[in-house]
Amino acid sequence: MPEISYRQAIKDALAEEIERDENVVIIGEEVAQYNGAYKVTEGLLERYGPKRIVDAPISEAGFIGMGIGASMLGVRPVMELMFWSFAYVAWDQMINNAGCVRYMSGGLINVPIVIRGPANGGTNVGATHSHTPENLIANMPGLKVVCPATPYDAKGLMKAAIRDNDPVYVMESTLLYGTTGEVPEEEYVIPLGKADIKREGTDVTIVCHGPSVPVALTAAQILKDEHDIEAEVVDLRSIRPLDEDTIIESVKKTNRAVLVEENRPFCGVDAQIAYTIQNKAFDYLDAPVQRVSTIDAPAIYSPAVEPEQLPKASTVVEKVLGIM
């Protein structure tokens, strides 16, 4: 299987979907002539022309709203946000319009839109550029949200998102764009709502998603090398819909859970996961569920200190050791 980057995997997904369905159109700031702020759409303008790859002005409320309106008519726009942190200026469109139109019309109108872009900290760009709003989106019935962590997942989930008839918001990571992994040449689609066991283990379950997946995997390696503990790493991949079964099965096997995410702790995704575990696997737990989140403050700029704010493998290891 060829090794390609996460960035390339997303681009391949976009290209394949553009070729498969004439209604798929990519719209966003700098996606066409500039080749994408993070080069995800590099070369697509040349291949598919300006009808399919559209440069938008810096006007997120305008063009995201426009994409939602077009999707009501059957266009399938894939909107790029340069950063998910910029979603807030388009929040009304993303929540009130994309999230509520189907409901308020009694099911008469669908909104088959994809909104995608990076959502992660760790790049020293300060609080306004480091948001991870998957928990906020997951709180909105009507919307779906996925956070792929590997090239394989990014491609398969992106294709599923584009084919989905509901709004799907895809959160990527600027730190993952350059990472590589095996991606088959044959076409495949990963259903939304299916977690993936990134590492099998028997002693403790580490639940993670998006940028915290590599953190969890590093921690698992340290646990094995230094403490002879076999951690099972469950990558949620999709936040809503959520694969509760895989989490619960794993916890029933390991009897312990540590939840890792880049959200802030209060009302983060893992608050819901922790609830689910105590609700559905209470009798299997040998220790309280532990969480590792981003330290509860806006993102600090200082390059020396920002890594301290984000979930660290060493903290995950400590939390695991604390409940063994």
Binding site: G62, F63, G69, L73, V75, R102, M104, I109, R163, L242
Partner: protein, 369 residues
């Protein structure tokens, strides 16, 4: 360069003269039946709104009820110009548009009462009517939020290579929302067949236009010049003047794929919503009376029809009683309809959940336990 003028005054368009405007190219071919049809459509909206006000006062309608009384000519004129690929989207004052595009009184009234037989199965309410099969895309509650969607409809029309347009309606208060300006820019930048229609009734809730908007001397639509867009001011008391101006905008959309901003001068007699306790405090009784007596679009049109002997008083009375009867039947239908079941609360949220046999995703979509 300093601005020429910065007036904050409502601009009155030229006085209307329906007999003259009836001879404008877009109107002169109208048959007697079509002209009577416009009258019927306006009367039906007014009687529906009056009936729904009574239902509200009986305590059967929850939340808000924004009545369209006084503005009927706009929705009727615009709907009369819609072809296969012309679309409409508006704000919460949306019952007139809904009836004008052909939604029936029963489904509208039932929606007001929150019944399962309502156009949105009781899930939308007064502010959120939809009929995509009639190119009617709502009914939106966030001031100005529907305007980017309207531009999206125009984008969709253009993307599909259709000859069409999207009329996006808003109030005089909505024009100060950022999303509206972003939408203006995109429509002009990308040559989209969007028609922005400002239904200027002089007030956004209790705030007069004078207290909300700075704009060029020519009025609110003239802001379009800043975006290089065409614009016009229209006197909303004349259904024919509206058809004339909107017709030009539709032609521009169809033939050149270019947007237009229209300001249509109108007035609402009722409060902002029925619950508007101050409806008569932020404006004078004289002002309301003047519009009712001298500028009411329904009355102005009625006088034209009588004057031109297109209809007799008796024929008008008949239309009026038919409309009242239709609204009465709708009120009864709504009353007798069932409320949605509690189970239906989680229906119509996700397409996938409603089409389980076609579901491709896995995992939980709802989290109620």
């Amino acid at each position: 360069m300093t601005a020429k003028t910065t007036p904050k005054k409502r601009v009155k368009p030229a006085t209307s003269n329906l007999a003259k405007e009836a001879k404008l190219p877009i109107n002169k071919g109208l048959s007697k039946e079509e002209q009577i049809g416009f009258y019927r459509d306006m009367v039906r909206i007014r009687r529906f709104e009056e009936r729904s006000l009574r239902v509200y006062q009986q305590g059967k309608i929850g939340g808000f009820l924004h009545l369209y009384i006084g503005q009927e000519s706009i929705a009727v004129a615009c709907a009369s110009l819609m072809g296969d690929h012309d679309h409409m989207i508006t704000a919460y004052r949306n019952h007139g548009h809904a009836l004008a595009v052909g939604m029936n009184m029963n489904e509208c009234m039932a929606e007001l009462l929150g019944k399962a037989t309502g156009c949105s199965k009781g899930k939308g309410g007064s502010m959120h009517f939809f009929a995509p099969d009639k190119n009617y895309w709502g009914g939106h509650g966030i001031v100005g939020g529907q305007i980017p969607l309207g531009v999206g409809l125009a984008y969709g029309v253009k993307y599909k290579g259709q000859t069409g347009s999207a009329m996006a309606f808003m109030g005089d208060g909505a024009i100060n929302q950022g999303a509206v300006h972003e939408a203006y820019n995109l429509a002009a930048l990308w040559d989209l067949p969007a028609i922005f229609i400002i239904e200027n009734n002089g007030y956004s809730m209790g705030t007069s236009q004078e207290r909300s908007s700075s704009h060029p001397a020519e009025g609110l639509a003239a802001r379009a010049e800043g975006y290089g867009m065409a614009w016009e001011n229209i006197n909303g008391e004349s259904l024919f003047a509206i058809r004339d101006g909107v017709g030009r905008a539709i032609k521009r959309a169809h033939e050149e794929s270019k947007p237009t901003v229209l300001e249509i001068h109108t007035y609402r007699y009722q409060g902002h919503s029925v619950a508007d306790a101050n409806a008569k405090k932020y404006r004078t009784k004289e002002e309301i009376d003047d519009y009712r007596k001298n500028h009411d679009p329904l009355n102005v049109y009625r006088l034209y029809l009588l004057d031109q002997k297109i209809m007799s008083e008796d024929e008008m009375k008949e239309i009026d009683s038919e409309a009242k009867q239709e609204a009465e039947v709708a009120a009864q239908f709504a009353d007798e309809s069932e409320f949605p079941t509690a189970e239906s609360i989680t229906e119509d949220v996700y397409w996938e959940a409603d089409n389980p046999d076609q579901r491709t995703s896995e995992g939980r979509l709802f989290f109620n336990d």
